[in-house]
C-alpha cells in the first residue's frame, strides 16, 4: 500500500507548519485564548487569504483547490501540534461537509464564503439527555407557512461564540430516538429567538449552550431530505471524527517528543531520568500508542470512501484506538514530567488537556466500542 503524500500535500503541510511556527507559539496562543474573543480573526483571515487552506478540501467547481479528506488530515495534524483553537473543524469539515453532501439550495454561495473566510460554522447536535446518540433529539422543527420553526436546546456547541452559522439537527417527526424523522438545517446565528450562553472550555476553546425559542427559518434552510437525514449526519460526523483523529496525532506527537526531551535533560540521582529503564519502557509504550494511532488514522481516512457500514466500522475502530492513546500518552507525559508537568506554565499540560477532550469528542471509547460491536461482531454471530 502507498501511504506517501503528494508533493502538493507535503507543501500544504510545510506552509501550515511554517505559518504556525511564526504566528502560533505557545505564549501567543495563551494570550489569544485568554482574550475577550478567545480566538484571532486575523489568523482566520490568513488561513483564507495567505495560506488558502480553507479551500484546500473543496472541489474546483466550488472555488476550492480540489483536495479532500487527505488535505484535511494534513491540516488537522499540524493544528494539533500547535493546539489551534480556530474553528476549522466546525467550519470546513462539518459545515463544509453538510453543504457538499447535502447540497442545499444555497450551498455554492455558502461554500464560497467559507473559502473566503467570511462564514464560520458550529455544529449544534448534542442534547443534554442524548449523550453521544446522534438521533436522540428533543429539539423540534415544525413546518409553518413557507418555512420551519425550531424549538429546543443544544449542549456544549464548540465554536458557537465565533460562528456566523449553526448546523442544527432537529426532529421533523418520529419518536425521541428514532432514526426516522431526523432533519438538518443551516441557521444564521443572528436569527431571532436563537439564544446563546457562551463560556470557555477546559482545553482553551469557546462553546455555547444554545436555546431555540420559536426560531423561524426559511424552507431552504433544510439540508438533505426532510426526516431522512440521519445517514448524512453519520457521514459528516464520521468525517469529523477522522479529522479529529488526525488532530490527535499532532497532539500525541508533541506529548511524546516533549517527554523524550524533558527526561533526557532532567537529572535526578546524578543521571538523566531517561536512563531509568522503567521510564524508557513507558516512553516505548507511548511511542507504540502513537504509531498505532497513526496507522488507525490512515485506515479511517481510507474507509471514508467506502460503504456506510465499512466507513462507520473503520472510523469507530480508529476512535477507540485514539481515545485510549490520548489517555495513556497524556497521563504518562504528565507523570514523567513530575511536579513540573502539573504546572500551567508548561505546554505539556495544555496538550494533555486537549488530548483528554479528544477522548470524549463525538463519542467515548465505550460508545465507539459498542458501535463497532454492533457493526461487525453482531453480524458475524
Amino acid at each position: 500500500m502507498d501511504f506517501s503524500f503528494t508533493d502538493e500535500q507535503s507543501m500544504l503541510r510545510d506552509s501550515v507548519a511554517s505559518y504556525l511556527a511564526d504566528h502560533y507559539d505557545f505564549d501567543t496562543r495563551r494570550a489569544s485564548i485568554n482574550s475577550a474573543d478567545g480566538w484571532r480573526p486575523a489568523v482566520w483571515k490568513a488561513f483564507a487569504e495567505d495560506l488558502g487552506i480553507l479551500g484546500a478540501s473543496f472541489s474546483e467547481d466550488h472555488g476550492g483547490l480540489g483536495g479532500g479528506a487527505t488535505e484535511v488530515m494534513v491540516v488537522m495534524e499540524e493544528f494539533g501540534k500547535a493546539l489551534v483553537v480556530e474553528p476549522y473543524l466546525g467550519t470546513v469539515v462539518i459545515g463544509g461537509g453538510f453543504l457538499k453532501h447535502g447540497a442545499p439550495a444555497g450551498a455554492a454561495d455558502l461554500i464560497g464564503k467559507i473559502i473566503e473566510g467570511k462564514a464560520t460554522f458550529a455544529f449544534a447536535y448534542a442534547e443534554p439527555q442524548g449523550r453521544y446518540n446522534l438521533s436522540d433529539l428533543k429539539t423540534t422543527a415544525t413546518r409553518k407557512g413557507a418555512g420551519y420553526v425550531l424549538n429546543g436546546m443544544k449542549s456544549v456547541v464548540v465554536g458557537a461564540p465565533w460562528a456566523s452559522h449553526l448546523i442544527v439537527t432537529a426532529r421533523t417527526g418520529g419518536g425521541q430516538r428514532e432514526a426516522q424523522g431526523v432533519s438538518v438545517f443551516v441557521v444564521d446565528k443572528s436569527t431571532a429567538g436563537l439564544i446563546t450562553r457562551d463560556y470557555p472550555t477546559v482545553d482553551g476553546r469557546r462553546a455555547s449552550e444554545v436555546t431555540f425559542e420559536n426560531v423561524s427559518i426559511p424552507a431552504d434552510a433544510l439540508i438533505g431530505a426532510e426526516g431522512a437525514a440521519l445517514p448524512l449526519v453519520e457521514q459528516v460526523v464520521d468525517e469529523a471524527i477522522a479529522a479529529t483523529c488526525a488532530e490527535s496525532l499532532g497532539v500525541l506527537r508533541r506529548l511524546h517528543e516533549g517527554t523524550l526531551s524533558y527526561t533526557k535533560e532532567r537529572k535526578q540521582f546524578g543521571v538523566p531520568i531517561a536512563s531509568f529503564q522503567v521510564l524508557q519502557h513507558r516512553m516505548v509504550d507511548m511511542f507504540i500508542q502513537l504509531e498505532q494511532s497513526i496507522s488507525m488514522t490512515y485506515m479511517a481516512h481510507i474507509k471514508l470512501g467506502e460503504s456506510a457500514a465499512e466507513r462507520a466500522k473503520g472510523v469507530s475502530a480508529a476512535k477507540v484506538q485514539i481515545g485510549r492513546a490520548c489517555r495513556f500518552v497524556g497521563q504518562n507525559a504528565i507523570q514523567l514530567h513530575g511536579g513540573m508537568g502539573m504546572t500551567d506554565e508548561m505546554a505539556i499540560g495544555h496538550f494533555f488537556k486537549r488530548a483528554t477532550m479528544i477522548e470524549g469528542e463525538f463519542g467515548s471509547v465505550d460508545h465507539h466500542l459498542r458501535r463497532y460491536e454492533a457493526l461487525s461482531l453482531d453480524k458475524a454471530a
Binding site: 449523550r131 449542549s155 464548540v158 450562553r197 477546559v202 513530575g338 508537568g341 494533555f352 488537556k353 483528554t356
Partner: protein
C-alpha cells in the same frame, strides 16, 4: 514565614487552581531551638514521617465517598440508549472493578493498621497503600469525567455566578478534578519511586 529572606511565588496548576508555591530561602536565619530532630539526621526523620504521609495519601474513606458520588451521578446521567448510565454494561463493569480494587486496598490498610496496633510499622508496605490509593483516586476522576459526557468540557472557574449553571451540577469541575488528581502519583514520593522502595526494601532486589 515572616522571616527575612523567605519569598513565595505562586504556581498555578494545569487545571487553573492555586494550591502550591515556589518557596525561596535566601540566607534565612533560623534559631537553633527551631531545629527539628538531630543535626544532619533530618532525612531519617522525614522518611519515617513520610511513611505516615503515604498511608494518609491512600485516602480509602475519601475514595469510598467519591465512589458513592459517582454511583449517584451515574444513576441520573443517561446512557446512549436512554437507561441510566449505571445500568450500562460497559460503565457498570468499570464501577464494579473499581469498587473491588478499593475493597482490596481497604483490607490491605486494615492489615497495616493491625500491625501498627501490635507495635509494628508502618513499614515500607505503606508504599503499596500509596500506589494503589492514588491509582484508585485517579480512576475515580476518570470515570466521573466519562459520566459527565459533553458537560466535562465547560470551564467555569472564572464565570460570573449570575449567568446561571451550565449542565448538571454533578458535572461541574469534573475535568479540573481529573487533571488535578494526576498530582497524586507524582507527590508524596512518585509512584515510580514507591515501586523502587518496594523492590529494594521489601523484595530485596
Amino acid at each position: 514565614m515572616k522571616s527575612p529572606g523567605i519569598s513565595v511565588r505562586p504556581i498555578i496548576t494545569l487545571e487553573g487552581g492555586h494550591e502550591v508555591n515556589d518557596v525561596f530561602l535566601d540566607n534565612v536565619k533560623v534559631p537553633v531551638e527551631n531545629r527539628i530532630y538531630h543535626e544532619n539526621q533530618g532525612w531519617t526523620c522525614a522518611k519515617s514521617l513520610l511513611l505516615h504521609e503515604r498511608s494518609g495519601i491512600a485516602g480509602v474513606a475519601r475514595s469510598k465517598r467519591g465512589l458513592e458520588r459517582l454511583r449517584q451521578m451515574a444513576r441520573s446521567e443517561l446512557a446512549d440508549d436512554t437507561g441510566p448510565l449505571l445500568a450500562d454494561p460497559f460503565f457498570k463493569r468499570k464501577v464494579a472493578e473499581l469498587e473491588i480494587d478499593l475493597t482490596a486496598l481497604e483490607y490491605t490498610e486494615l492489615r497495616t493498621l493491625a500491625g501498627e496496633s501490635a507495635g509494628k510499622g508502618p513499614g515500607p508496605e505503606s508504599s503499596i497503600l500509596k500506589i494503589k490509593g492514588t491509582e484508585i483516586q485517579q480512576r475515580l476522576t476518570e470515570l466521573t469525567l466519562e459520566a459527565a459526557g459533553h458537560y466535562g468540557a465547560p470551564y467555569l472557574r472564572n464565570a460570573p455566578h449570575n449567568l446561571g449553571a451550565v449542565g448538571p451540577d454533578d458535572a461541574h469541575g469534573v475535568a479540573g478534578a481529573y487533571f488535578n488528581v494526576r498530582k497524586t502519583s507524582i507527590y508524596g514520593g512518585s509512584n515510580e519511586i514507591q515501586r523502587n522502595i518496594i523492590a529494594k526494601v521489601v523484595l530485596g532486589l
